[in-house]
Symmetry: C2
Subunit: 591 residues, 2 copies
């Protein structure tokens, strides 16, 4: 499989001219992050992704992980790549310098993170885990735990994993059965079975710090009785060094259809009497802490959709500029490059347009997270935006990623079905992203009930204002085409759908549940359309300052394409949202 | 993986009350095929599919085919199942009794064929090949070839394969380089390389009859210079028995992401001087003959979408009635069956609704093929309908099949990503169906240019009349709901889209090419909506004659669901069709 090459030009354009990060050099706190520094970081990351991670992607898929008597061996090359990844400081890119990180803003980290995910998704899954675990520890304000674990995690000396799911508790974590019994010395004895633990066991790091959800003996039932514990694979002695093996055992690894290079472990805690764990923060607040990591993981998962889409686009573009087949439908010329066929061009543009829109959205979210750190007066609004966008971006981007992997295979034709070309791997790898870290259905319920009804639509109304502002800028441009009418219609149906949702009381709850996924998709298309308006406006403005007219015109064309080929979906989705219940109540699953 | 169980009740309902086959017992020619006979055949086929083919599906996927020095070994159990399949007469079900077949009408064969495809798609791929090859020989009116080959093929003693694609000639078969040099004795010496030959080599039958496209020395260039040859693996002597090995060699088999049990071969003809071939029909008419088989193969491929959708539905339904998780969003009850969650119910209904609509469409096509045989006055109209439907059904059903495999995995959650549950196999197996036998893009061009513009919309106008007739029956029913308005809108945009296509001259050709796939999808959704109107009307009518009210009410609810969750897509697709060109001409693939 051809190596990944980071789309530096597109990334820089979006960071600098489209996302809110475009104003970052005006903000004192971010003054260091000028164009030069940003390009230097992106350039180095691009080399590492293309030269170190990407060449291991297909070999890792073919070889997979090995399990032998509790030990997990990662594919050839993984250990060395991990060492380099940590040595180069990539792991702690957006983590505090105080603990060995580099304290870079989110918007740069988002661009870099996408590169890792494109180049080798299986490999780099540990990174979002470390980012999230570190943030839990930073937020938990527990100095002792910070001192013991943070630097080891940030430097990658120790890895971490998120030990949540159990056979009977997946989407519903309130249902977990793992027990944590307090000991006299302040530690807890943990016992229980966990499944689907990404990088729960491996040979990359000296120690693995498990973040485990468990229930203490007298905890309240359900989600309110769940606590979070640190359970290291090797116990940590007083000097902070690895001591004896804890009572933690990897029982098996899953045989998955994709992500073969990432071990998915079943872990047993306490087979020999109990694993020693340390409480994080306070008892019964485990889900709250875990959601810090979970929100991080959801944004990272959303980026996986962008990343696989980008990889698919690169491969499909390359193939369609090499492969000749058929006759040019307009000129009659034979044996033309398949990129010349309008339907192939349509698919290629579809890939790039969707990737561009989603990438812009991911930078927009990252920028608002950065701004929340420095603009205290607008902090709440920034965080509301991020909270609203998290389920939309997570679910819509991963659903789109699945479709884009399919489109990539379609462009390859028969060659796409043959494993050697590597594009079938994209389809297999991406498949779980609409499931883990909360399924699309769960994201949709979070969106409709918590993020919209829960704040009486405040965040959504702020978003609508932003969209309408950018729409006004877009229609003021001197760009031809009927898609302005489509965008106006989009804003109309978006408003209608939102009103519909806000108006539903208890009686309308079932109807909302039946159409929630459709509404989330509607929001996804609308937000991507919004980003593409910003892309077009920025490209149009840049034409006055840049001689790179071909590039800028292409971005404008890509936006118009989005409005004709993606935006119309809102018409159908709106109709489904408001009639979602049709037939559902009358239908009996068991006849 | 759980065994397949044929949906006999749904199949019978659609055959008897929805498709045009409902009137078959009134037609003298089909008088034998009463309910009793049809149920007997379907019942036997269901047993064979569930008990013999389905148990080999997952083991065949895991084991795959083996290649060793030119020989291909199929997975364990394949040889025995093939023998039983032939002995029971399933191979020749719809082929003439005169040659060992059973001469059953198409509408019964379609239902039976779907069962094979659901139970074990990899295994049964040889069947459509035999059906198509036999039809070529029957049409070619070459008595000598018929006598030599037909009975052997129909009984399965010999298998067949379709040797079309070459490394430089896939979608564009006019480009092939395989040569056929005439010999003095009337045979030809064939030499060339073919790829992607399904069941091109295997251990199931005594001989394999390759149908090979090749060019004779003085043939005209392009598609008009392609001839069709029979090249048996073992030469056939004067007595009609297998003689010496022909100069035909399997060079390798592909390592595919799915369909592991079906060997996909690269075949070399003539390495030792030339393989002996016999011309089928006349020189330079090869593509025309091959298209008999190709149309057959396209309808069969369309059924693969239905079949995988059905298998996915069965698995997902079973799982969602066993797996408990989460809280009932309305009653608050905990640990409920996941089928109780509105979003899971939505996905289950989506699977069954889409499968039902596509299955009805496949029976409708089969019925019209049957009617074309006996109603000479309407023969042309029946065949126009089938010709129009072939690209729609092939492409829309396989695209839907891919989505349905994805939905099935989604319902399984994390378990869907684990290979052991077998649902990831559905995704991998179905992936190629939008590619082989003509990609979705090729079907769309066939639809727009050949099937619609090519006959000035005649077939389409007849179809529109049929849809409007059934719409009138549907809205006359006493069924509540706003979806009648949606259906009226559908007919409106369908008419507008069709007018748009018929109005485009040469200048509008590029625009049509950019939106052809969207138009095909629009037609697919509209035809399925049409079928669901017929389902609702039939179910409503049957309520007067049947006490099975729960079943009939479910079908009505399923139709309404289709109109709320699928039909609205026509609004978006129509918009894209008429603005498809936006941005495409201005966009330069190579910046």
């Amino acid at each position: 499989m051809a190596n990944y090459s980071a789309p530096l030009k597109d990334m820089s354009f979006l960071l600098k001219h489209v996302a809110d990060s475009r104003g970052f050099d005006q903000i004192e706190h971010f003054a260091d992050y000028d164009d030069g520094l940003v390009s230097a970081v992106l350039g180095e990351a691009s080399k590492f992704a293309g030269q170190v991670l990407s060449p291991l992607n297909q070999s890792g898929d073919v070889e997979g992980c090995h399990f032998n008597d509790g030990a997990v061996t990662t594919p050839q090359g993984w250990i060395d790549a991990y060492q380099q990844f940590c040595d180069n400081g990539w792991l702690g890119l957006a983590l505090p310098e105080e603990y060995g990180g580099q304290s870079l803003p989110r918007f740069i980290a988002a661009a870099v993170h996408e590169m890792w995910l494109s180049a080798n998704l299986s490999f780099v899954m540990f990174q979002a885990l470390t980012q999230g675990a570190a943030e839990i520890l930073l937020t938990a304000r527990d100095e002792r735990l910070k001192q013991r674990y943070l630097e080891k995690l940030v430097t990658g000396e120790w890895a971490t994993c998120m030990s949540l799911t159990e056979p009977g508790a997946g989407s519903d974590l309130g249902n977990i059965r793992t027990r944590a019994v307090p000991q006299e010395n302040g530690t807890y004895l943990i016992s229980g079975q966990k499944i689907y633990i990404t990088y729960g066991e491996h040979d990359l790091s000296e120690n693995i710090v498990h973040l485990v959800l468990a229930k203490t003996p007298d905890s309240p039932p359900g989600a309110k009785g769940v606590s979070l514990f640190i359970v290291p694979k090797y116990k940590v002695d007083e000097s902070g060094q690895c001591g004896e093996l804890n009572d933690v055992r990897c029982v098996s690894i899953e045989h998955k259809t994709g992500l073969h290079g990432s071990p998915t472990c079943s872990i047993s805690y306490g087979d020999e009497g109990g694993a020693t764990g340390e409480l994080v923060g306070e008892e019964n607040r485990g889900l709250e802490y875990m959601f810090i990591l979970m929100n991080e993981a959801r944004l990272s998962t959303g980026q996986q959709g962008v990343a696989i889409g980008e990889m698919g686009y690169q491969r499909a573009l390359e193939y369609s500029l090499e492969r000749t087949q058929g006759r040019d439908a307009l000129t009659g010329e034979t044996n033309v490059l398949i990129a010349r066929h309008p339907d192939v061009k349509r698919m290629l543009m579809g890939l790039r347009a969707q990737v561009t829109a989603l990438r812009a959205l991911s930078y927009q979210i990252a920028s608002r997270l950065d701004l929340a750190e420095v603009e205290s007066q607008d902090r709440a609004a920034h965080l509301r935006f991020v909270a609203l966008m998290t389920p939309i971006f997570k679910a819509f981007s991963t659903e789109s990623g699945n479709l884009m992997a399919g489109t990539t295979i379609q462009i390859f034709g028969g060659m796409g079905f043959v494993e050697e070309t590597g594009v079938a791997q994209l389809m297999r790898d991406i498949r779980v992203t609409t499931i883990y870290e909360g399924t699309t259905g769960i994201q949709a319920n979070d969106l409709v009930f918590r993020k919209i009804q829960g704040d009486q639509g405040e965040a959504l109304k702020e978003l609508m204002t932003d969209i309408e502002t950018d729409f006004a800028k877009y229609i003021a441009l001197d760009i031809a085409g009927c898609e302005k009418e489509m965008l106006a219609q989009m804003i109309e149906v978006l408003n209608e759908s939102v009103d519909y949702i806000l108006q539903q009381g208890k009686a309308g709850r079932e109807s909302l549940l039946c159409g929630a996924v459709n509404f989330l998709e509607l929001m996804g298309v609308a937000c991507c359309s919004w980003m593409m308006m910003r892309v077009a406006v920025a490209a149009y403005e840049q034409k006055a300052h840049s001689s790179d007219t071909a590039y800028l015109n292409n971005l404008i064309a890509l936006s118009r394409f989005y409005f004709a080929h993606f935006t119309p979906k809102v018409l159908a989705l709106h109709k489904t949202v408001i009639t979602a219940e049709a037939g559902i109540q009358d239908y009996q699953i068991e006849e």
